[in-house]
C-alpha cells in the first residue's frame, strides 16, 4: 500500500472501528481510541513531507490502479507542491478536532469521532485524487459525514443548516458531474486529469465547462454571492464541525479551481477572469464590511472566512506566480487561523453557552491565559506580520499590484477591514470590565485546551516567521501550472 493510500484509509479504518465498536458507556475509551487514531493518521502523512522531492512539478507518490474497468476509471493518486500541505493540514486539524471535542460531546461520542475520522480520510482523498471521477467521489462523499455532524450535534436551528449545507453544495456539484462526464466522452473515454489538461476544447465548450466547475467550486469556497449558506451552517455546527468546515472543506473548492478550472479551461479562465476578480474583490471588501456588523461571533468569523477566501480566488485569477502561490499559502494559513478562531469561540461557548458578542465583556480578567491566545489568533486573522495570516495576504496583494495597481489597492483595504472587525470583536468580548456574572464565573483554560491552542499557535507562528518550507514546496508546481494556463487550448 502506498503512502497516500495509507494517509487516506488509516483515518477511515479508525472511523469504521469507532462506529462499529463504541458505546456511550465507554465514552472515555472511545475518545482515547479516536485520539490514537488521529495521531496515528497524522504520523503516516509525515513521510509525505520528508520524502517530497523539491523543484519538480511532477506528481509524486503516484499510485495508479484500475478501479472501474468499464469506464476506464483509475484509482490514481499523487501529490504535487500544491496539494502536499493540505494533506498534512487535514490530518493535523483532525487531531485538534478530537481534542477540542473531548468534553463538549457527550452523546454518541463514537459516531461523532467516527464521522470526523472518515471525513478526514475523504478530504485527504480529494487532495490526492488525480482521476476526475475519483475526485468527485471523495468530494461528494464528504457531504454525508458533515451533514450528520451538523444535524446531530448542531445548535437549535441545526436541521435547516444541515439541509442548506447539503443541498446547496449538491446543486453545484451535480452540474460539475455533467461536466466531468462530458469531458470523459470528449476525451474519448478517460477520466484522467492529465489527459484532460491536454485536451483541446473550443471556446463555447470551455465557457460552459468553466461555469459548470464554477458552480461546484464557487459554492464550496464560497464566493460572493453564493456564500449565504456558510454563515448559517457555521452558526449551527458544533465547534469541531465549524473548525473542519472553515479549515479544510472550503479549501476543497479553491483547490478545485487550481486542478480543474484553470488547467482544463485556460482560455475561458482568462476570458472570465474579470468576473472572478470582481467577485473576489466584492467578497474581500463588501463581506468584510458585513462581518463588522455581526452580533454573533461565529457569524463574524464565518464572514471573515468568506473575505479571506476572496483573497485566495483573487490570487488565482490574476495569473502570476505571486498571486497563485499567495493564494495557496493563504489557504494553508487560513486553515490554521480559522480553525483556531472557531475553537476559541468553542472554548467560550462550552462555558457560557452563548455566541453573542453582547453576552461577554472583560473575559481577559477571568481568563488571562486564554485571552492571550485569543489575541494572538485575532492578530493572525487580521494579517499581522509575523503570523501566518500575513504571508499569503501580502503575496496576493503584491501579485495584485503587479497585475493592476488598483486591484492591488482594493485588496489591500481588506487588511484595514479585517483589523477593524477582528479587533473590535476582541475589544468587546475580552477587554473592559467584567460585564456580567457569567463572565465573572469563568474558569481559565485547562491543560487540554491549552495543548490544543498551543499546537495551533505554534503552527501559526512558525508559518508566519519562516514560511520558506511552505513556499519552497509549491514553487515548481505553481510555475508549471501557470505555464500550462498561459498556453491556449483552442484548436
Amino acid at each position: 500500500m502506498g503512502l497516500l493510500s495509507l494517509a487516506i484509509w488509516t483515518p477511515i479504518f479508525f472511523g469504521v472501528v469507532l462506529l462499529a465498536l463504541g458505546r456511550d458507556e465507554q465514552a472515555r475509551a472511545v475518545r482515547w481510541l479516536a485520539l490514537t487514531g488521529a495521531v496515528f493518521s497524522f504520523l503516516v502523512t509525515l513521510p509525505l513531507y520528508t520524502r517530497f522531492e523539491l523543484g519538480t512539478p511532477a506528481m509524486q507518490f503516484v499510485e495508479n490502479l484500475p478501479w472501474i474497468a468499464r469506464f476506464n476509471v483509475n484509482y490514481h493518486l499523487g501529490l504535487d507542491g500544491i496539494s502536499l500541505w493540505f494533506v498534512l493540514l487535514t490530518a493535523f486539524i483532525n487531531i485538534i478536532v478530537v481534542i477540542a471535542s473531548w468534553e463538549s460531546i457527550t452523546r454518541r461520542v463514537n459516531q461523532y469521532m467516527g464521522a470526523f475520522m472518515i471525513l478526514s480520510g475523504l478530504m485527504i482523498g480529494v487532495f490526492a485524487a488525480l482521476d476526475g471521477l475519483l475526485f468527485f467521489v471523495f468530494f461528494e462523499a464528504t457531504l454525508i459525514p458533515m451533514y450528520l455532524i451538523i444535524g446531530i450535534w448542531g445548535g437549535p436551528n441545526k436541521i435547516y443548516a444541515a439541509f442548506k449545507f447539503f443541498l446547496y453544495t449538491l446543486l453545484g456539484s451535480l452540474l460539475m458531474l455533467v461536466a466531468l462526464v462530458f469531458l470523459y466522452v470528449k476525451s474519448g473515454g478517460s477520466f484522467d486529469l492529465a489527459t484532460w489538461h491536454k485536451l483541446p476544447l473550443s471556446s463555447p465548450v470551455q465557457t460552459l465547462l468553466f461555469f459548470a466547475f464554477f458552480a461546484a467550486f464557487a459554492v464550496k469556497v464560497p464566493m460572493w454571492p453564493v456564500h449565504t449558506w456558510l454563515p448559517d451552517v457555521h452558526v449551527e455546527a458544533p465547534t469541531g464541525g465549524s473548525a473542519v468546515l472553515a479549515a479544510i472543506m472550503l479549501k476543497l473548492g479553491a483547490y478545485g479551481f487550481l486542478r480543474f478550472s484553470l488547467p482544463i479551461t485556460p482560455d475561458a479562465a482568462h476570458e472570465w477572469a474579470w468576473l472572478m476578480i470582481a467577485l473576489s474583490l466584492i467578497a474581500v471588501i463588501y463581506v468584510g464590511l458585513v462581518a463588522m456588523v455581526q452580533q454573533d461571533m461565529k457569524k463574524l468569523v464565518a464572514y471573515s472566512s468568506v473575505a479571506h477566501m476572496g483573497f485566495v480566488t483573487l490570487g488565482f485569477f490574476i495569473f502570476n506566480p505571486l498571486g497563485v502561490a499567495g493564494g495557496v499559502v493563504q489557504m494553508i494559513a487560513h486553515g490554521f487561523v480559522s480553525a483556531a478562531m472557531f475553537l476559541c469561540i468553542g472554548v467560550l461557548y462550552d462555558r457560557v453557552h452563548s455566541r453573542e458578542i453582547a453576552s461577554y465583556g472583560g473575559v481577559i480578567n477571568t481568563m488571562p491565559k486564554f485571552a492571550a491566545f485569543a489575541l494572538f489568533f485575532a492578530m493572525a486573522n487580521c494579517g499581522l506580520p509575523g503570523t501566518a495570516g500575513f504571508v499569503g495576504e501580502w503575496m496576493v496583494i503584491l501579485g495584485g499590484v503587479q497585475f493592476n495597481f488598483w486591484i492591488g489597492l482594493a485588496a489591500a483595504t481588506a487588511l484595514i477591514f479585517g483589523a477593524a472587525y477582528t479587533l473590535w470583536m476582541f475589544k468587546r468580548v475580552y477587554l473592559g470590565p467584567v460585564a456580567n456574572d457569567d463572565v465573572k464565573g469563568l474558569s481559565d483554560i485547562n491543560a487540554r485546551e491549552f495543548l490544543m491552542l498551543t499546537l495551533l499557535a505554534a503552527a501559526v507562528l512558525y508559518m508566519g516567521v519562516h514560511p520558506k518550507p511552505f513556499t519552497d514546496v509549491m514553487d515548481a508546481s505553481v510555475l508549471d501550472l501557470l505555464k500550462h494556463v498561459a498556453v491556449s487550448k483552442l484548436n
Binding site: 468499464r70 462523499a141 446531530i152 439541509f163 443541498l167 452540474l175 455533467v178 462526464v181 470523459y184 466522452v185
Partner: protein, 500 residues
C-alpha cells in the same frame, strides 16, 4: 425432434413450477404459525434456481428453445438469478410480518410468490410476443391475489381492486398493441418482427399505432407518468411484504420486456419510441420527485421515488440509438440494466427496514415512525441511511454509479438535446435529494416519538440479511466495476444477436 425443443432453456422454470405445486401440498401438513418447513423449501428452491441461472449466465451462450419461443441468454439468466435472490431476501424480511398478519395460513403466500416469480421468468425468457404476454399475466395475476391476501383489511382490498382494474387495462393496451404489430408484420416472433420492420416493407402507420399501445402498456407496468396513478395507492395499501414483492423483482422483468419488445423486436422503430420514452421520462422525473416531497407515508414516498427512479431508467433506454447508429447501444442498455439491478437492491433494503420495524398491530410505515431510529438501533438507521443516500445518488454508494452510467450513455450519444436532458435529470435528482435526506433527518436528528417501541424485535436471520444488504450498497459503491462489466457483457451478447 425432442432435442430441438432445448429443454435446457426451461429447466429453472420447470423446477419453479413443480416446487410451487409441491410446496402447496406440503403446506397442508405444516401447522406452525411461521411455516418453517415451507419457508425453508421455498428458499431452497429459489437458491437452486438462482445458482442454476448464474451457472447458465457464466456459460455466456444464447440458446433458443421451443421453436424460438423462448431464449436463454446471459442478460435473461442474470436477471432471473437476481430476481430469485430478490424474492429470497423479500421472504426473509417478509415472513414474520406476514405471519403476524395471518397471511401465512393456507400456504398461498409461498406458492403465489413462486408463481409470480415463474411469471417473471417466463417474461424474461420470452422470445415471442404471446409468451411474454403470458408470463406477464401469470406474474400480475399472482400479484393481485397476493395484494388481496388480507381480505379483511379495507385498504388492502381497495389496493387490490385498483391494481387489478388498472393492471387489466394495461394488459389490454399491451395486447392490443401487440396484435396491431402482428397484423402489420405477420409474426409474433421477436426476431421476425425485427426483420420485417427492418425490411421497410411494412406499413409504418400501423406499426406506430401498435407501438403507442405497447409503450403505454409498458409505461403502466413501470409506473411511468402519466400511467403512474395506481402505483402510490398499491404500494401504500398492499401489505408491506407484498409491496416489496411487487416493487423489487418485477422491476427486473419490466426491464427485460422493454429489452425484448422495444430493442430486440422494434429497434428499427427506435426513433419513434425514443420520443415517447423521453416524454415519459421527463414527466416521471418531475412528478415523481415533486410529489414525493409532499408525502408523510413512507411507503407512498417510496412509491413516488420509484416513479422518479423509473424516469432516470427510461433515460438510459432512450439513449441507445442516436442518429441512426447503434454504437451506443451496449453502453446505454448496460447502464439501464445496472440501474435496475442496483435499484432493486436498494429498494429491498428500504422496505426491509419498514418490514422489520413493523410488529403486531403496528405498521411502522409513516416517516415519523422512523424518528430517532439511530438511538434505537444504529444498525437499522445505518442501513436505511445507506439506502436513502444511494437512492439520492450520493457517492460512494452504488446508486451514484447507476446515475453516472445513465449520464454517460446520454452524453456519449453526442446529441445536444440529450445534454439538456441530462442537466434536467441531475436537477430533478437534486429535488429528490431533499426527501431522501428528510428520512435521514428523522432517523438521526429527531428524538424518538413517544409511544414508539424502544426495542426492535427483528429475528437474527433478518438482521443478518439486512446488514448484508446494506453492506452491499456500500461495497458495490466502492467496487462497482464487476457488476458493471457483468451488465455490459450481458447486453453486448444481446446486441450481437440483433440483425442490422
Amino acid at each position: 425432434m425432442i432435442d430441438s425443443l432445448s429443454w435446457i432453456t426451461v429447466y429453472p422454470e420447470i423446477i419453479l413450477l413443480v416446487m410451487a405445486c409441491v410446496i402447496a401440498m406440503v403446506d397442508l401438513g405444516v401447522k406452525t404459525p411461521l411455516r418453517g418447513t415451507t419457508y425453508a423449501l421455498t428458499l431452497l428452491t429459489l437458491a437452486v434456481v438462482a445458482v442454476l441461472e448464474a451457472f447458465y449466465a457464466t456459460q455466456g451462450a444464447t440458446v433458443y428453445g421451443f421453436g424460438k419461443m423462448v431464449v436463454s441468454d446471459p442478460m435473461g439468466n442474470w436477471l432471473k438469478c437476481f430476481a430469485s435472490l430478490a424474492l429470497m431476501i423479500t421472504l426473509v424480511y417478509g415472513r414474520p410480518y406476514a405471519a403476524d398478519r395471518d397471511m401465512l395460513r393456507g400456504g398461498e403466500f409461498f406458492t403465489l410468490s413462486l408463481f409470480s416469480l415463474l411469471g417473471i421468468f417466463v417474461m424474461i425468457s420470452g422470445h415471442n410476443f404471446l409468451v411474454i404476454y403470458m408470463g406477464l399475466e401469470l406474474m400480475t395475476l399472482s400479484s393481485y391475489a397476493l395484494v388481496a391476501l388480507r381480505r379483511d383489511n379495507a385498504t388492502a382490498t381497495e389496493a387490490a381492486m385498483k391494481y387489478f382494474v388498472l393492471g387489466a387495462l394495461a394488459s389490454g393496451f399491451l395486447l392490443y398493441g401487440l396484435s396491431m404489430i402482428y397484423g402489420a408484420t405477420g409474426s409474433l416472433n421477436v426476431n421476425e418482427v425485427f426483420q420485417a420492420i427492418a425490411s421497410r416493407q411494412v406499413k409504418h402507420q400501423v406499426l406506430v399505432f401498435g407501438l403507442v399501445f405497447v409503450v403505454a402498456g409498458l409505461a403502466f407496468k413501470l409506473g411511468a407518468v402519466p400511467f403512474h396513478m395506481w402505483l402510490p395507492d398499491v404500494y401504500q395499501g398492499a401489505p408491506t411484504a407484498v409491496t416489496l414483492m411487487i416493487g423489487a423483482a418485477p422491476q427486473l422483468a419490466a426491464f427485460a420486456i422493454c429489452m425484448r419488445l422495444l430493442v430486440q423486436g422494434m429497434l428499427p422503430l427506435a426513433i419513434d419510441w425514443q420520443q415517447m420514452l423521453m416524454v415519459l421520462a421527463v414527466g416521471s422525473l418531475l412528478v415523481g420527485n415533486l410529489a414525493a416531497i409532499a408525502q408523510t407515508n413512507l411507503k407512498r414516498m417510496l412509491a413516488f421515488s420509484t416513479i422518479a427512479q423509473m424516469g432516470f431508467f427510461l433515460l438510459a433506454m432512450l439513449a441507445g440509438v442516436a442518429g441512426g447508429h447503434q454504437h451506443n447501444a451496449t453502453s446505454a442498455y448496460g447502464a439501464a440494466m445496472f440501474y435496475v439491478i442496483t435499484y432493486v437492491l436498494t429498494t429491498l433494503a428500504a422496505f426491509g427496514i419498514i418490514l422489520l420495524l413493523a410488529r403486531q398491530g403496528h405498521e411502522a410505515e409513516e416517516i415519523t415512525d422512523l424518528s430517532g431510529l439511530n438511538q434505537r438501533s444504529p444498525l437499522f438507521a445505518g442501513v436505511m441511511a445507506l439506502a436513502m443516500f444511494s437512492l439520492a445518488g450520493v457517492p460512494p454508494l452504488v446508486g451514484f454509479y447507476a446515475k453516472l452510467a445513465v449520464l454517460q450513455s446520454l452524453l456519449a450519444s453526442g446529441d445536444t438535446g440529450y445534454l439538456v436532458l441530462s442537466v434536467f435529470a441531475v436537477m430533478a435528482s437534486l429535488i429528490g435529494a431533499f426527501y431522501y435526506l428528510r428520512v435521514v433527518k428523522v432517523m438521526y436528528f429527531d428524538a424518538p416519538h413517544a409511544g414508539l417501541p424502544t426495542e426492535i424485535l427483528a429475528r437474527t436471520d433478518a438482521r443478518a440479511v439486512l446488514a448484508l444488504n446494506g453492506g452491499l450498497l456500500l461495497v458495490l459503491g466502492m467496487a462497482p466495476g464487476g457488476l458493471m462489466t457483468l451488465c455490459g457483457d450481458a447486453i453486448a451478447a444481446l446486441v450481437k444477436t440483433l440483425v442490422t
